[in-house]
Amino acid sequence: MNTDRYQHISDTALLERFYADKDNQWLGILLQRYTMLLLGVCMKYLKNEDDAKDSVQQVFLKAIAELHKYKVAYFKSWIYMVAKNHCLMKLRDQQGKSPAMLNEQTMVMGEEPLSVESHLDKDRMLDAMTLAIEELNAEQKQCVTLFYLDKKSYTQIADATGYSMMQVKSYIQNGKRNLKIGVERIIKQQ
């Protein structure tokens, strides 16, 4: 099916169309948008191409069945949660592991925007950020600064610092999380 002509329709609009006429073709168009991402998520957890492909198919079937039963508001977050849960369950069955299950509440799609951000003027936020960035450890501060302020790519940062790509990624992600916590604390103190 040629899905290009549906590109202008948002995920939410496709879901609304599906809920209106229960025609599975809308789900096909919607799910197809995420095939590559779902394959990637399944590959990350299962580390096997055949298992990953098999899991994507099962995630599709599960999604089709579930979407007939109830309404989903944030499809992208939801399908990610379905895929991740499926992989964790599969790993548990394979290895007897009991990974923590995710649910829509605990699953975070991206990070929550800073709760106080909208209420503060930019100058106060900038002051808090400047203080919080100084509180990061040396590696996180270096990587966060190079990535967000100097707009360097992971590769460029790895070349400049001598850290591995994985380290760079981890310093940036942890640094961002710590910055958020730091800013919230500083603002509360003020």
């Binding site: 099916m1 599975n24 073709q25 789900l27 096909g28 799910l31 197809q32 095939t35 590559m36 991402l37 779902l38 394959l39 990637g40 998520v41 399944c42 590959m43 990350k44 580390k47 191409e49 990953a52 492909k53 994507v56 198919q57 599709f60 079937l61 089709i64 992208k76 977050s77 990610y80 991740k84 975070v108 799609m109 991206g110 990070e111 925007p113 800073l114 951000e117 930019k122 936020m125 900038l126 950020m129 400047t130 960035i133 966060v144 990535f147 967000y148 302020l149 707009k151 360097k152 790519s153 992971y154 590769t155 460029q156 990624k169 940036i172 992600q173 961002k176 910055l179 958020k180 800013v183």
Partner: protein
């Protein structure tokens, strides 16, 4: 003070397209474009996990092939489901048609019997 500091905590809601991901994996993007993709990775667990997983595919050229295969399979399954649904509907409709035919036959038979009865009565 660097205004870009504010961008650190604002999350990007932009979607990344498959081609961009493939180009990123293939190392075809410029440093600036790589940085843009990585900004989305830092903001979005779904894309971040997906990219880490896609990096594990032995031959990156297979990714598009796998995706096409999965999409074909998805549409095949949806078509099968649709056909099953139509078949069920048709089966239900058949019973309705059968009931209509039986009722019509009964009505015609009753009508014929009444005519016959009246004819006999007229003769008698």
């Amino acid at each position: 003070m660097n205004k870009d500091l504010l961008n650190i905590l604002s999350n990007s809601n932009k979607d990344i397209d498959n081609q961009q991901l493939m180009d990123y994996l293939a190392g075809k993007l410029s440093d600036e474009e790589r940085h843009k993709v990585e900004m989305q990775l830092a903001d979005n667990d779904f894309i971040n996990d997906a990219l880490e997983g896609l990096e594990n595919v032995k031959d990156p050229k297979d990714i598009n092939f796998f995706v096409d295969q999965l999409n074909r399979d998805l549409h095949k399954k949806l078509l099968q489901k649709q056909k099953r649904k139509q078949k069920r509907k048709l089966l239900q409709q058949r019973w309705v048609y059968a009931a209509v035919v039986i009722i019509l036959a009964l009505l015609i038979a009753t009508w014929l019997m009444i005519i016959k009865y009246q004819a006999l009565k007229g003769r008698g």
